[in-house]
Structure formats: structure tokens, C-alpha cells
């Protein structure tokens, strides 16, 4: 399975007469965009705003971030199972409007979280302060329940991304990256002297506002399975997860998966990257046992020497992380875990809700309880009234001057558990 990713660099986004790319500027026809994004009889109104890097703009509450992509060659379409049929994706050529993003905002449940600041201290904690954001605000018709509301906003975001992505179809990309994974036996043979590695890719799947989809299937109903890594670059995995802004994986992150990209970077040089095993994070211990057993079995079956395991979320998924680690390690396979921490505001408490002595190689995405002060912003896109009641806030969060003090968990992507962020550690 080979996929060429053609990156078209976008430095600015503006409204224009047609939706097109000219040079490094993406123009969006506002009326057409709204008509496409709003094409659902369950939507009462849609609106669109632009938010660019460096502006004094806050987007709140952010539901999802999606990258505009388009298939140029190869089977299937972007977001299989949602925006196209369920043909296998991950091969051929996919063009990307690199530097642009669709951000959805919606008021799905009463409590809200997910902040993107385009400048100031908050901007340093979210990768989406560096993208030119096309912000889609969606209001459903009266009488829509929370499950359906989440779905409506999610699908509107995908339609918007597909619509915008098409502008890149006939554009010559600025750079082309080639990613290839061969069928197992062939792949093992290609670099047979290198250590074999795989990626255990855990997906948040607990229920309302906590779901992830694979080729349109609710991932809490899957048995762990194998994916060619390139499938995710075409949107095979999408986020329906609206909770835990700091460490959820927005759809954009699935499409730009940093662990997969990094594993490809060393593929054929330092190790032989065989592929991804996706698994879920359900609420019952029976599901956890079943999924971790299946995951460990698949890892063993692939015959790898080591795996990277990343979790999504906090608390309940810590148990899945630990089970995956234990069961895979006991098969004699090395593990490296990626997580983030809820170590209290002073960083002094235990970081995870579960632990294992076998988890002896762990990478952290940072402490989500750490405090940050966000200054007043000139523009607020979305629902400014919820700034007073964001998750990660606490008594005294909202200052008289309008600035807010929150924990990092309120900021979209701040402590990414796949490393799609800016937090790092330095030694002096």
C-alpha cells in the first residue's frame, strides 16, 4: 500500500468569489461553503469565520479540527464510511491544503471545553494556533438530542473539509511525501535485518461525546484489527470525541498522525515498521480484557520486536493502556507507552489512574492540570458566554478584566498523547 501525500502550502485564507488556491492563498466562496456544510435538514443555521495565526482571536468551544484533503488518484475517497463509500483507502495520491484547517464549534452539551487562542500564551499550547482556520458554527433545529447534535456537527465539519479540499485537486503540490507499507511477509523480508516494530493505536470509545469511528464504524464495537498506516492519512479514522480537549485526537491529528509519520521516518533505516493495530477503550472490564487480549495476540502474530502504544484520554483508558502493556510485554515484546498526566496543579500527585512495573519506558505529553492564564482576546468566535464555565476552570477562573485562568486541559491539543503539540522537556 503506497500513498503519496502532496502538500500544497497555504499561508493565508480569505473569502473570495470562488473556492480556489492561488499561489499560497486559499480563497473560499462563503455562500457555497455554507450551502455545502449546512446541507443537512437537521441544521437550522451555519456560519463561518476565519481565524489566522497571530490574531487576537479565541475560538471556543472547539469540537473538532479537520484538514482539507482530496484524493487525486487511488481507490476510495476521504473519510470512507462517512463522505464516501467504504472502499479501502491509503493508496494512490492525496493532496493536502497544508496550513489550512476546518474548526467546528457547537454547543452540544451544557458544559463546554476546547479553546484555541490564535495569539498570546494560550497559542503556544495548541498546534491549531498555527493553522489558517475556517471556523464553522453549526446550530441544529429544535428538539435534537445530544447524540444527534454531535453527529450533525461532526458531519458538517467533514462536508466542509471535503468541499474545501477539492480546491487542491488540480494543484501541483509544493512537496510530495511517499509512504509505503507492503503486505506482511514482503515487508518483513524487505528489511529482514532490522528490528520489527508496530504501533498500537488506542481509540477513545466510551459513549456519547467519547467516540471514534473507523470506516464509519463506531470503534467501541470493533475487535482490534490491522490497518496499513497510510489508511489514516485518508481519514479512515475520525473523531466523534468532544471531551477532554487537551488530550483527545481531533480528526486533523488522526490524518497527520505524528507517531505514524515518525515511524515512517525511520522505516528501512533504523527499524522495519510493519503497521498499526487499532484498539478501543471501552467502559466494561470485559471489553478491556477482550480487546487487550486480541491486541496482544495480533502483536505476537505480526512477530514484532517492539511496539509503541498510545492512549487517548484519561482515567478509564489508563486501565487499557496498562493491560496492553502488561500482556504485550509478557509475550517478550518491548513496549514504549505514550500518555499524558493528571498530576495535580503542582505536579506532585500520581500521574495516572493505573500503573504497572512493566511500563518502564513512558513518554508524557505533559501535565494537564498545569495552570495557565489566558488574556482577553479582541475577537471571540463560537460561544463566548461559555468562557465562564469551561472545564479546567475553577473558582476565580474568570478575572474582572476578562482574562481567565484555566488548567491546560481546557486547551485543544495541549497535552496530545500522540505528541502532536509543542510541549517538550529540556535539560540544562
Amino acid at each position: 500500500m503506497q500513498l503519496k501525500i502532496g502538500n500544497i502550502f497555504i499561508d493565508d485564507v480569505q473569502f473570495g468569489n470562488a473556492t480556489e488556491v492561488k499561489g499560497d492563498i486559499l480563497y473560499v466562496n462563503k455562500d457555497e461553503f455554507l450551502a455545502e456544510a449546512g446541507a443537512d435538514e437537521r441544521i437550522a443555521s451555519v456560519d463561518v469565520y476565519l481565524a489566522k495565526p497571530g490574531e487576537e482571536t479565541r475560538i471556543i468551544p472547539v469540537k473538532d479540527v479537520i484538514e482539507p484533503r482530496v484524493k487525486v488518484e487511488g481507490q476510495g475517497g476521504i473519510f470512507p464510511g462517512f463522505m464516501s463509500d467504504v472502499e479501502q483507502v491509503g493508496n494512490g495520491i492525496t493532496n493536502v491544503l497544508k496550513g489550512a484547517a476546518i474548526v467546528t464549534t457547537g454547543r452540544i452539551v451544557g458544559f463546554q471545553e476546547g479553546i484555541i487562542d490564535m495569539s498570546g500564551p494560550g497559542a503556544e499550547f495548541t498546534p491549531f494556533s498555527k493553522t489558517n482556520n475556517i471556523v464553522l458554527k453549526v446550530e441544529p433545529i429544535e428538539g435534537i438530542g445530544q447524540h444527534e447534535h454531535e453527529e450533525i456537527v461532526r458531519l458538517a465539519g467533514f462536508r466542509a473539509a471535503i468541499y474545501v479540499g477539492k480546491a487542491g485537486k488540480d494543484i501541483e503540490p509544493n512537496e510530495v511525501k511517499v509512504f509505503e507499507t507492503k503486505p506482511l511477509a514482503e515487508q518483513i523480508n524487505e528489511y529482514k535485518d532490522l528490528p520489527k516494530v508496530a504501533y498500537v493505536y488506542m481509540l477513545q470509545t466510551q459513549g456519547l461525546l467519547h467516540d471514534t469511528y473507523v470506516y464509519g464504524v463506531d470503534a467501541k464495537k470493533i475487535i482490534p484489527t490491522f490497518l496499513y498506516p497510510t489508511e489514516v492519512f485518508d481519514g479512515a479514522i475520525v473523531s466523534g470525541n468532544c471531551v477532554s480537549a487537551c488530550d483527545k485526537n481531533p480528526t486533523y491529528v488522526h490524518m497527520n498522525h505524528p507517531v505514524i509519520e515518525e515511524l515512517y521516518a525511520g522505516h528501512g533505516k533504523d527499524y522495519n515498521f510493519l503497521g498499526c493495530i487499532i484498539t478501543n477503550e471501552n467502559v466494561t472490564l470485559m471489553d478491556k480484557e477482550r480487546s487487550s487480549n486480541m491486541t496482544a495476540k495480533l502483536v505476537e502474530f505480526l512477530g514484532v520486536d517492539a511496539v509503541i502504544i498510545s492512549e487517548e484520554g484519561f482515567g478509564n483508558p489508563d486501565a487499557d493502556l496498562v493491560m496492553n502493556c502488561n500482556k504485550i510485554t509478557k509475550k517478550g515484546i518491548k513496549t514504549v507507552l505514550i500518555t499524558d498526566e493528571y498530576a495535580g496543579q503542582d505536579g506532585g500527585s500520581q500521574s495516572l489512574a493505573d500503573s504497572t512495573p512493566l511500563g518502564d519506558a513512558v513518554v508524557t505529553g505533559g501535565n494537564a492540570n498545569e495552570i495557565i492564564k489566558l488574556p482577553v482576546m479582541k475577537n471571540v468566535i463560537g460561544y463566548p458566554e461559555v468562557a465562564e464555565v469551561i472545564a479546567g476552570g475553577f473558582q476565580g477562573s474568570l478575572n474582572e478584566d476578562g482574562s481567565i485562568i484555566v488548567e491546560l486541559q481546557a486547551i485543544t491539543g495541549a497535552t496530545s498523547e500522540v505528541g502532536y503539540g509543542y510541549l517538550s522537556a529540556k535539560t540544562y
Binding site: K220, S349, A353
Partner: protein, 133 residues
Amino acid sequence: MRKEIFVVSNNRMVAEKYQVVFVDGNLDSVFEKIRDLVHQGNIILTHPLAGSIKPHETEYKSVVMEKKEGSVDVDSLRLIENAIETSKKFVKPVRNWGKEQERIDNDLMFIDFSLVQTGVEGLGTTLYKIVSI
């Protein structure tokens, strides 16, 4: 014979749908009740920290347990003790939701309901049946 399960909850919305051991109190009271039940031999079937809404962002909590008597299930005890420890490290936000209070309360109850429903459906009816205790 199917295993007998029950729900421990402080959520009215859950109590309307399932027979529950109702706890009239906050999150910590639910966890304490579960710990007592674990010490009596009952087993935890759904993770006490299910849901990414952090402890005290929501006080609603529902957990499915298996009815059992006898020796303490060590895994269940570890789970609930870890959950209690985790809950302690989250600051309790003091919020006045004002006129939004009822709506937000309902939303938080609904999310908890959805999570426990996912759990009950995940367990299925082949191996388990819900009972009252």
C-alpha cells in the same frame, strides 16, 4: 446461569431506567459506597473513571457491579481505591451556572447515563442479568 449485575448510581436519570443502588450524595459518596460493596465481595464491571469529564466537573457517577459474596476481588479493590485517589487530586470547581443550572445538570446526567448504558449494552444479556440488591 447468568451472572447477576446491578448499578450503583447517584444519577436520577439512570435510576429511572435501571434498578440501582441509589446513593444520595456526590461522586465521593458513590465511590465510598462502591468500596463498601467491594469489601462485601461484589465485583466492579465498568471502570469507575469511565468518561473523560473530570471528577468534580461532573458529580454524576454510575458503575455496574456483579453481585457476589465472599472474598474481596483484589482487582476491583485496586480500581476503586485508584479512583478515590484520582478524585482527590482534582480541584472541586465552585460554579454558579445561574439560569443554565438545570440544563447543564441534565446534560451531565445524560452523559453519565450514556456511559453506563454503553456499559450495560456492552455486557449484554447472554452472560448477565440486572437484579436489585
